[in-house]
């Protein structure tokens, strides 16, 4: 099937954007929760703008907009920034960063105060508390919703076809213009997304099960035995 070569491109867009986007999400969430008014306002504004505008417009703005600025055209980044591939990744990254920040923020807020106090009373430094207590608990809390966000992002990559990227949807559009078999081609394209997202959601479910052992229903004997053998 001639749509298959689009799969790697779709996956690349989704995974590179979410890999970097998660840092945007974490940074924005931490800024929103920080006591600092300036940091909080910046993060709030970022989230407000991204959530309030269509992704398609954001992609256009980045793709066509950046060339308008001389300092960008002349910067060493220009060879990257003029590539539709990287423009799409930037747009998707900003986008998922904004939505993700709200999920991460919820996760951070869900961490029980008492567990943080216990860590403080042990003499843990703030960095250690984040690393050992707060982030692990927040990640566990945020995981299901974040998995959903990655699925949304994967579907959003189809918009990248509009700036000439030949991912699944881009290839489909090209095929249709050559064959005029609209329904068949889009059915196949849709099935490909369905398949990818099925695998993705299974992966998230497995990860969730692993990380949520501490809340899952218990079979005590098997637990201890499994651990003892490990």
């Amino acid at each position: 099937m001639r749509l298959l070569p689009g799969i790697p491109m779709t996956l690349q867009l989704a995974f590179i954007a979410s890999a970097f986007g998660v840092f945007f999400a974490l940074a924005a969430a931490l800024m929103q929760l920080s006591g600092n008014v300036v940091l909080r306002s910046i993060a709030d504004f970022y989230v407000f703008c991204i959530r309030g505008t269509p992704l398609l417009i954001q992609i256009f703005l980045i793709y066509y907009g950046m060339g308008q600025f001389d300092f960008i055209r002349h910067s060493f980044m220009w060879p990257i920034l003029r590539e539709p591939y990287w423009c799409a990744i930037f747009a998707l990254m900003f986008n998922t960063g904004a939505y993700g920040s709200q999920i991460v923020r919820g996760g951070l807020l869900s961490v029980p105060r008492g567990q943080v106090e216990a860590a403080r009373s042990c003499g843990m430094s703030q960095v250690l508390i984040y690393r050992r207590i707060i982030l692990p608990l927040a990640i566990r809390q945020a995981l299901p919703a974040y998995g959903n966000e990655v699925i949304l992002l994967l579907k959003a990559t189809s918009l990248a076809s509009i700036i000439t990227l030949m991912e699944i949807t881009g290839l489909a559009a090209k095929m249709i213009s050559e064959t005029y078999r609209v329904v068949e081609v889009f059915l196949v394209a849709g099935s490909l997304y369905l398949l990818i997202n099925f695998i993705l959601s299974r992966g998230v479910a497995v990860l969730e099960k692993r990380l949520m052992r501490h809340t899952a229903a218990e079979r005590p004997s098997s637990r201890v035995a499994a651990r003892g053998a490990a």
């Binding site: 216990a118 003499g123 050992r132 608990l137």
Partner: protein, 284 residues
Amino acid sequence: MSSSALAQPVLQDPDLALAASSADAQLSGQKTAISIRNLHKNFGDVEVLKGIDIDVAEGQVVSILGSSGSGKSTLLRCVNFLESPTMGEITIAGETVRTRPGKNGDLEAADIGQLNRLRSNVGMVFQSFNLWSHKTVLENVMEAPVYVQKRPVAECHDEACAYLEKVGIYDKRFSYPSRLSGGQQQRAAIARSLAMHPKVMLFDEPTSALDPELVGEVLRVMRALADEGRTMLVVTHEMGFAREVSNRVIFLEQGWIEEDGAPETVFGASRSARFRQFIAAQPH
């Protein structure tokens, strides 16, 4: 829980044998484990602590009594700066916490490194246990020794196991806290505290969140710790513990120390009408 587990000697804790030799260690000549000087704490306009002075000698077991809202938790939390005092001085094992005025008018630690070092000498046991829910019991106990005190993992592991044995939940070491009863969780929290070799242990109503039938197992562990000669500050509503186990009772009332003395004296012949009223209102 088997009492034999508790009868076992503590691990290689060199200064323990010394302290254990005299349960009535508060008499003269003892080193001061904790000294609280002129401690004030305001929440907004409300003055919760109005100038508290307490010196706790090594090996002393102090019960802090008081009606709800009298400031007992706040006092305990000010000792390790979980709450920032508004004024005052805290000295732990001879080292005074360096402070400076913070933003909201309370004091804050001037040297976070020092504060964290001192905190690791002060174990705290909470009413709601506060075990780390994503870690097993064993991981909870090993966490601070490994990551804060940076001691060898194997040593921490063996020691953690010994402490869990001591509090009677060794067989639960691979369980997550959510699978334990309240009494077991609290004993795990005590083991977690012990694993740092604290010089002082703070208990904030350690049995108040427990079903009545689980209170006994936690009190037995605490009694064993007292018998070992550990220095303990215990906020409690257990009058039996205050009378029989502790060797000093402090009664807090509206931010003041209303009574302070040996249990026999305080319970036997308190002149404070408020204290007598408080005792009369207790279930025991």
